[in-house]
């Protein structure tokens, strides 16, 4: 149950990180000593790939890369990129922000055509900053608005909705669609949590001239959520934005709510359905929604596209998915890989500079999840109208194709 981990060091990675801080980059030493790495010649097209292979995030992040692996299979089956064999340069970042500069150094030397990953807000910020001068095309799973700023990071392309877009949708759903007026916010104390909190507050103020009635921030390793939930309840919250990357925090919050029969409408940013949710009363789960992509939702009248159907089937079959199909399908990397393949075919080039020029002109590219457009300035590509809200309990419906897709909330 992880979309993005917003905090690399919270409950996890005590020692894991210790090793990673230095360890990672050091992988470079040996290869560098050998002189030429990664096959040397121009016969292969290299793709940089940043994924935690070790450490405690390794298992959790695996599903996130399933889509990209499927796209890679397609590329290879289709004869590679521009007829050149595709070579994957996999880098283990252990899910640690501190490891990113070293990983970045290694990527720079490998001169890949483009880079996939890393995943996780903090990891992404560290990685993109470290790669900023390298002119390597990169797309990560990180929602910070800054990451979609084409002036700031001209080579990073964001294929996920950013926190502002997410906050807009969440606020619209609670305030406009459901007509709730006592909106509360509860977020984790992290880069992601604090930035989406600020975004929701700003949007409520600017668009709806409203103010949240309660704002709660909890430490990522808080063992008891009761006080925060009690505060929300006391403020009479009827609509709640719940934003955390820690699944246990979500469960503990729901538990505190169940204990006092407090059932507000919740918009979360994570719609993975995990076993632990089974303990909660239906009334509570029925009010649990989450932001998601229009392409991954269905209604009674509207089926997802055939492409989505096909992808979901393949995701479900892939061994790495491990029951986290929702994470796998919402991941940006499948769309990113296909988009890169298309751009490379069109420009007939593997030169980052030429690819960048082409990417900056992408308009209404139809990804499986949403439409994507970029300009030189705006690298936050997801079309606003393709961000929507889904229901959690629909994970149990047959139309969800094994719990991967979600029913779109009424009115969205």
């Amino acid at each position: 149950m992880s979309t993005y981990r917003t905090n690399g060091m919270s409950r996890r990675g005590f020692l894991t990180g210790t090793t990673s801080v230095a360890a990672l980059g050091m992988l470079g030493l040996g290869t560098a000593a050998c002189g030429s790495s990664g096959g040397g010649g121009k016969a292969t097209a290299r793709i940089g790939w940043v994924e935690p292979k070790t450490g405690r995030l390794a298992a959790a992040y695996k599903p996130i890369y399933v889509g990209a692996r499927l796209a890679l299979e397609d590329l290879k089956a289709g004869g590679g990129l521009l007829g050149q064999a595709v070579q994957l340069m996999e880098e283990d970042d252990k899910g640690s922000p501190a490891a990113q500069p070293a990983v970045a150094q290694r990527l720079i030397r490998e001169e890949p055509t483009f880079v996939v990953g890393p995943t996780g807000s903090s990891q992404v910020l560290a990685s993109v900053t470290a790669l900023a001068r390298a002119k390597l095309i990169q797309s990560c799973w990180g929602g910070a608005e800054l990451l979609g700023d084409g002036d700031r990071f001209p080579y990073h392309y964001q294929l996920v909705y950013n926190t502002t877009q997410q906050a807009e949708v969440a606020a619209r759903f609670l305030h406009e669609v459901r007509g709730l007026r006592k909106i509360g916010i509860i977020v984790e104390n992290s880069e992601f949590g604090t930035s989406i909190r600020d975004a929701v507050v700003r949007i409520l103020r600017d668009t709806y001239s409203a103010k949240p009635v309660a704002v709660e921030v909890f430490e990522v390793d808080a063992s008891d959520m009761t006080p925060f939930v009690r505060n929300l309840e006391r403020a009479g919250v009827d609509g709640l934005g719940l934003f955390t990357g820690q699944p246990q925090a979500t469960i503990l919050i729901l538990r505190a709510m169940a204990a006092s029969d407090f059932h507000p409408v919740i918009v979360s940013h994570d719609l993975n359905y995990i076993e632990a949710l089974g303990e909660f009363p239906r009334a509570l789960l029925d009010g649990f929604f989450g932001t998601t992509y229009r392409g991954l939702t269905y209604t009674d009248a509207e089926e997802p596209s055939a492409a989505v159907h096909g992808l979901v089937e393949r995701i479900n079959k892939h061994p790495d998915t491990a029951g986290l199909g929702y994470s796998a399908v919402t991941s940006p990397y499948y769309d990113y890989m296909l988009l890169m393949a298309k751009v490379i075919e069109e420009t007939k080039s593997l030169e980052p500079a030429k690819l960048k020029a082409a990417l900056d002109k992408v308009e209404d590219y139809q990804g499986v999840r949403a439409k994507v457009s970029f300009t030189a300035k705006r690298h936050s590509g997801i079309a606003a109208e393709d961000i929507t809200v889904g229901t959690l309990v629909s994970a149990k419906e047959p139309q969800s194709l094994g719990g991967v897709l979600r029913r779109r909330a009424d009115g969205m």
């Binding site: 149950m1 992880s2 919270s10 409950r11 996890r12 005590f14 020692l15 894991t16 090793t19 070790t54 450490g55 405690r56 995030l57 390794a58 298992a59 959790a60 104390n189 921030v217 909890f218 430490e219 390793d221 808080a222 063992s223 008891d224 009761t226 006080p227 925060f228 009690r230 505060n231 699944p247 246990q248 469960i251 503990l252 538990r255 204990a259 006092s260 995990i274 076993e275 632990a276 089974g278 303990e279 491990a322 029951g323 986290l324």
Partner: protein, 291 residues
């Protein structure tokens, strides 16, 4: 409000206290503070949540978990503690080896289980359902956790007064001297690790319904356990349990009254303050040695 803080403080404080009691048991014969304690507890909770053991009747399941974790802890003693102490009893190599063992446990857990948190139902007839008595809201399971923590400490007190306890004190004071008096420090160390491991397993079992079992739960408990240990006084079981409660209450109060960023600062400041006033722990039992 105050009642809520006290309930949460006592319940989670009991867990922190139990973690610290585990440190104590392992520390006494070896002078080692076990950095792997958090991961041992995690293993206990995960065994309950994610293996067939969890399907057994609660009592049997808990006993199995305690046995398994005790064996893992004994393995730690064999590979990570005794070899280091044998080579040099004053070296600090154990910091690294217990950390390394903790890394091994975490890696193994990451390999076995995903990071999905799992819930564990409390044993019948206890439940997590919140009751309200005289305006205080708590569940029967929360009461049970506090009672078990107190019982564990009381039991250890009894054990402490037995011959085993005396022998342990002798070993703690002077490992070589104890040997001369016919006490086998190695056997005692093994027994302590089995006991400490069983307690870690029990702590995991107890924590699972409250904190959710997940492969990431170890670090938080380790750190809070450290804090309870420092405040309560190394070697003082009653002291660390009380310290756990104090810290639990401060933490719960911090969640209500302090901003999130300042919570750990509040906790740290409280810890420092207590330590400065009572440098040998809350009850100040530590013996001062002289020339």
């Amino acid at each position: 409000m105050i009642a809520d803080i006290l309930v949460a403080g006592l319940v989670f404080g009991s867990l922190y206290g139990l973690v610290a009691v585990g440190f104590n048991i392992l520390h006494r014969p070896t002078n080692v503070v076990n950095f792997a304690q958090g991961e041992l507890i995690m293993i206990g909770a995960m065994l309950m949540a994610a293996t067939p053991i969890g399907g057994l009747p609660w009592g049997i399941a808990a006993a199995c978990v305690m046995a398994v974790v005790a064996i893992v802890t004994l393995a730690e003693e064999r590979v990570a503690v005794t070899p280091v102490l044998r080579r040099s009893s004053h070296a600090v190599g154990w910091v690294i080896t217990t950390l390394a063992f903790s890394l091994l446990l975490a890696e193994a857990a990451g390999r076995l289980w995903t990071d999905q948190p799992s819930t564990v139902a409390p044993p019948w007839p206890l439940s997590m359902r919140v009751e309200e008595v005289l305006g205080v809201r708590f569940s029967s399971y929360q009461v049970a956790v506090v009672v078990i923590a107190v019982a564990v400490v009381a039991l250890l007190d009894v054990l402490d007064r037995s011959r085993l306890g005396t022998a342990l004190r002798a070993v703690a004071a002077d490992r070589d001297g104890a040997r001369l008096r016919g006490i086998d420090p190695a056997a005692l160390t093994r027994r302590s690790f089995l006991l400490g491991g069983a307690l870690a397993g029990l702590t995991g079992v107890l924590a699972a319904p409250l904190l959710l079992a997940s492969v990431t739960m170890g670090l938080g408990l380790l750190i809070k356990g450290f804090a309870a240990l420092a405040v309560g006084g190394i070697g003082d079981n009653r002291g660390v349990l009380v310290a756990g409660w104090v810290l639990g209450v401060i933490e719960a109060a911090g969640a209500v009254f302090a901003s999130p960023g300042s919570q750990s600062v509040v906790l740290f400041a409280a810890m420092l303050l207590i330590l400065l006033i009572r440098p040998n722990g809350l009850r100040g039992l530590a013996v001062q040695r002289h020339v």
